[in-house]
């Protein structure tokens, strides 16, 4: 086993540069750094949150084309639902309350239309055929109003499902918002305005608000809240950990300075690129704070161990930095590779997270290898008795025990690792691919409660949208066309998670019944009657339903399948069932295209799994390459991979056993962690190769005792740093943080036990006898 042979010319160049930096270059460097950091900070502090969630949706061309066609034909599919539970809903008092609320919301800026029980119209048979009349007759206190309304609702179960709950205690107000402004926000902040009305008018009623635009609004608020909380909190925690670990001002200040500079530069660059934060990239600031710790901790720890009485402190710092430069560069590379592997994702937010995470890692490396030596040159050396954990304290005893265990019982250690890995693999098989937008939030969040309440009482909160058109491109003007739509709806309604389905066939059925004097909805039997129904809808300014249900030229119909608040694990098979069943019912004569924002989420979730495999493979390949280039030994490369893979398998297994779903957030854990856990391996093996003098056990003992403290410190700091994300507002953030933190602890155990055991096992002494 030979030591790595670094490029002497390059390293002597580095030494010369560092010598200059620690001499005449100190103040110009610090001034430049300060100036650049101040500049980037200005932009970093101005980053806002995305009002739209477009960056969270994949850039699948076919999917995007269908959705654009849908929006162009049927307009905005983002509706807000306000549920109103009133103790006396069907009395004049309750109806007046609902009417007042409906009217006030209708006057808010950004509201296009409001539909509720008190302004809904239905088709009735009149002297000239179908006539549209208010569902709730006026005046509201006229005798028999309640009975007439309830009877009309019983006659129109589809309409009733939209307007009122089955128990007739809760009414729904559907709010259609206008177009968004250029920055993606609704004019006048509609959600806030509606909540203002709710607060003012609540009284006896129980009000709940939900809908995609409300979710977007609240998510943006949570992102802002997390940004304001998590970064300072992780800074505080890391400062505390550094203080406990190094027990010196320099030990806290120097790594913290690296963090602040890295954070400012990376987030400044992010802002300058024109991006805003979303639930995924909101994790970037805490992640950068955490990732920027490793190199500075190792450099500071090396500085602590510069022997007392060393004449030229600056020269010693340069030498120590040079010694750690190559391993630190490779750890930065592997971490960056892990993050860059997320480029395989077609979700822009995930790609952006990976790219800027990698940028942060490189900035952190560059700042660490320059700022740490410069900063340490200002501090006097620590006296031996003041050195942290000197003598025979608990950390040393812990490291000694780890060293003994990994060398004397290396077979047992490896067997246990194998068993745990197999258990991890079994657990991974149980991981469910599920993105649940509502349950991303904590159960205490108002949006979580509101959404589930509305979901329980009214016709579902999500909609899978389908566009149906004739294969020959002709308008859907044949009665057969509407019968096909109705048959598809019938099949969809029979599925468990489906709350209700709506299409033009329902409306035409109601109109035709009213036109011909029938009570139950009934589809026209000839083309003239069907076209007459279309004409009546077109001519009625009070009912703009037609444009929401069928394209202007009548060539494409929308079938909206309202479903309950389920995750993609249930929704994806439902979509498949609807597509298969739909194609069977509609046959070759019609084209059936699924679309809508919820459909996109289900498809992205499926794609996520496939892409995650690619991300892990990319990350792994890059790491193997980096380790092999660094150590130039296949045996060491294999030995280094084992402790890197075991924590990832354990994390995956834990997800399976703990019931943590694979979602947009948690799918990023494996590639990111893979790049991080290998850092310990690189530092350990680099030290091991310097310590190796023909006896693996002795080398392991010296390496564990020498590098073990820095590894333990950096791993604990990383684990706690990630742990701060547990205070995040989104479950994927919490899961990502806790899994990453836990994996860092597992990685430490692997670096101190499994890696040495692998090195002992792979050692080939000259005499061929493994002692």
């Amino acid at each position: 086993m030979t030591s790595p042979e670094p490029d002497r010319g390059a390293l002597s160049g580095l030494e010369s540069f560092l010598a200059w930096l620690l001499g005449r270059g100190r103040y110009p460097y610090l001034a430049l750094l300060l100036l650049a950091t101040a500049g980037f900070s200005i932009f970093a502090l101005r980053i806002g949150a995305e009002a739209e969630t477009g960056s969270m949706v994949s850039r699948d061309k076919e999917q995007a084309r269908s959705y654009a066609a849908f929006r162009s034909a049927f307009g905005n599919d983002e509706e807000v639902v306000l549920s109103v539970t009133h103790p006396r809903l069907f009395t004049p008092e309750g109806l007046r309350y609902l009417d007042g609320l409906t009217k006030e919301i209708g006057t808010l800026e950004g509201v296009l239309r409001v539909y509720s029980l008190t302004n809904a119209r239905h088709a009735v048979n009149g002297p000239a055929g179908a006539e549209s009349e208010p569902l709730v007759p006026r005046p509201l206190d006229a005798p028999g109003v309640s009975r007439r309304v309830l009877s009309a609702l019983d006659d129109n179960p589809k309409l009733a499902g939209l307007l009122v709950s089955r128990d007739r205690r809760t009414a729904g107000i559907t709010i259609e918002a206008g177009e968004r402004t250029g920055d993606g926000a609704f004019p006048g902040d509609l959600t806030e305005a509606i909540r203002g009305v709710m607060a003012r008018r609540a009284g006896d009623a129980e009000l709940h608000l939900s809908g995609i635009s409300v979710q977007k609004h609240d998510v943006a608020e949570f992102v802002r809240r997390d940004k304001a909380l998590l970064v300072p909190l992780s800074m505080l925690v890391l400062a505390g950990m550094l203080a406990v670990t190094f027990r010196s001002v320099a030990g806290v200040l120097v790594p913290m300075a690296v963090k602040i500079v890295t954070l400012a530069w990376t987030m400044g660059a992010y802002a300058l690129s024109g991006y805003r934060l979303n639930p995924i990239t909101a994790l970037l600031p805490p992640l950068i704070v955490i990732l920027s710790i490793s190199t500075s901790v190792h450099l500071y720890d090396g500085w602590l161990h510069i022997p007392e009485g060393e004449g030229d402190r600056a020269r010693a710092i340069v030498r120590d930095t040079r010694r750690l430069f190559v391993p630190s560069l490779y750890t930065a590379l592997t971490t960056a590779f892990g993050l860059l592997s997320l480029a395989a994702s077609d979700v822009p937010a995930v790609r952006r997270f990976g790219a800027f995470g990698a940028v942060g890692v490189f900035i952190s490396f560059a700042v660490s290898v320059t700022l740490v030596p410069v900063a340490l040159s200002f501090f006097p050396p620590l006296r031996r008795e003041r050195m942290p954990h000197g003598g025979n304290g608990p950390p040393k005893r812990f490291l000694r025990a780890a060293s003994r265990l990994s060398t004397e019982r290396y077979r047992t250690v490896l067997a246990v690792a194998l068993v745990l890995s197999l258990a991890g693999v079994a657990g991974i098989a149980r991981v469910r691919n599920n993105t649940d937008l509502v349950r991303f939030l904590k159960p205490g969040a108002p949006l979580y409660r509101d959404t589930l309440f509305i979901d329980r009482n009214l016709a579902g909160v999500y909609a899978l949208e389908f566009m149906v058109s004739r294969a020959d491109g002709l308008p859907l003007t044949s009665p057969e066309d509407l019968r096909a739509l109705a048959a598809f709806q019938g099949m969809a309604s029979a599925q468990g998670a489906v709350a209700e389905t709506y299409s033009i066939a329902d409306v035409i059925g109601m109109i035709h019944a009213a036109e011909t004097g029938g009570k139950s909805p009934r589809l026209p039997e000839n083309e003239d009657d069907l076209l007459y129904g279309y004409d009546l809808l077109k001519a009625d300014p009070e009912q703009p339903f037609l444009s929401k249900l069928v394209k202007g030229d009548l060539t494409v119909a929308r079938v909206s399948v309202r479903i309950h608040a389920i995750g993609t694990a249930e929704a994806a098979p439902l979509v498949r069932t609807l597509l298969t069943g739909g194609k069977r019912i509609l046959g070759e004569r019609y084209a059936l295209v699924p679309t809508g924002s919820f459909y996109q989420v289900t498809q992205d979730s499926n794609r996520l799994v496939r892409r995650q495999g690619a991300s892990i493979a990319l990350s792994l390949a890059a790491i193997v390459l980096a380790i092999h280039l660094l150590f130039r030994s296949p045996a060491v490369t294999v030995a280094a991979l084992v402790p890197a893979l075991v924590p990832v398998l354990l994390a995956g297994g834990f997800m399976g056993y703990a019931g943590i779903d694979l979602s947009t957030g948690t799918a990023m854990v494996a590639p990111v962690i893979l790049g991080l856990v290998v850092d310990n391996t690189i530092h350990y093996v680099a030290r091991y190769r310097r310590e190796y003098r023909g006896d693996a056990r002795e080398a392991v003992g010296r390496t564990t005792m020498g590098a073990g403290r820095a590894l333990t410190a950096s791993s604990l700091i990383l684990a706690l740093g990630f742990g701060v994300g547990g205070f995040g507002s989104f479950k994927p953030t919490v899961h990502f943080s806790l899994l990453a933190g836990g994996t860092m602890l597992a990685a430490l155990a692997c670096a101190l036990l499994i890696l040495p055991a692998c090195l002992v096992l792979s050692d080939r002494p000259a005499d061929g006898v493994r002692r």
Partner: protein, 225 residues
């Protein structure tokens, strides 16, 4: 549908007391029904120029005055229902002419039924608008209401009747026809009482003073209601 068509035919026959069978107007009325030399005095789209279902025109036809309503709409049934509603409101039971109004309304309803039937059997499936022509004609000797199914073209944004298929001609009282010409002038041409008098009086054939006063007065009452 067959029942409705039959009813329409029965009603049409019933509404032809003067012996004008459907499609066969009396010879004496041929000149009155010939619109080839019509001189349009005033015209307005109804209910609005933006979404017209038809056009109402005050026409001079020889010595006769014609209040002509050309309807071209997908909602003829509804328009006819609206005509019925307005007619019954303008000519209530206690107003002289109520009986004529009922005959007129019945004839229009029957005509609509017939037009609807022919519409269903049409060969050209392109244009889905149904057409009806109603003319209130008052001359020195005659006071009639003619209902026909026209062929219409557009000229300079206006509707032009190029041919028509007569459906019914009703001979009704002069007071009713004169009164309804006023009603329509106020309702569809947007004229107020003075304007309508200034335009119509010089055109309308002289009446016996008592009848003229009566019909105008009744018309006025009709609109003031």
């Amino acid at each position: 549908m067959r029942t409705r068509a039959l009813a329409a035919l029965v009603l049409a026959a019933f509404c032809n007391p003067a012996g004008a069978a459907e499609g066969k107007p009396q010879a004496a009325w041929v000149r009155l029904l010939d619109g080839s030399r019509d001189e349009v005095v005033r015209a307005e789209f109804v209910p609005s120029a933006e979404q017209p279902v038809g056009e109402v025109r005050l026409v001079r036809r020889g010595d006769a005055v014609v209040m002509q309503t050309v309807l071209r709409t997908k909602f003829l049934k509804r328009v006819v229902a609206e005509i019925r509603k307005k007619e019954m409101a303008a000519w209530p039971r206690d107003r002289q002419g109520h009986g004529d109004a009922v005959k007129y309304v019945d004839a229009v309803l029957a005509a609509q039924g017939g037009i609807q039937e022919r519409f269903r059997r049409r060969e050209d499936r392109g244009d889905r608008r149904q057409k009806m022509l109603i003319e209130f004609i008052l001359s020195r000797r005659a006071s009639i209401v003619a209902i026909a199914e026209p062929e219409i073209t557009e000229e300079g944004g206006r509707m032009r009747v190029v041919s028509k298929r007569p459906i019914a001609v009703l001979e009704l009282s002069r007071a009713y026809v004169r009164g309804n010409i006023y009603e329509i002038a106020w309702d569809a041409l947007g004229l107020d009482r003075k304007e309508s008098r200034d335009i119509l009086e010089p055109m309308l054939p002289p009446e016996s003073p008592a009848e003229a006063e009566s019909s105008e007065k009744e018309g006025g009452q009709g609109i003031s209601r």
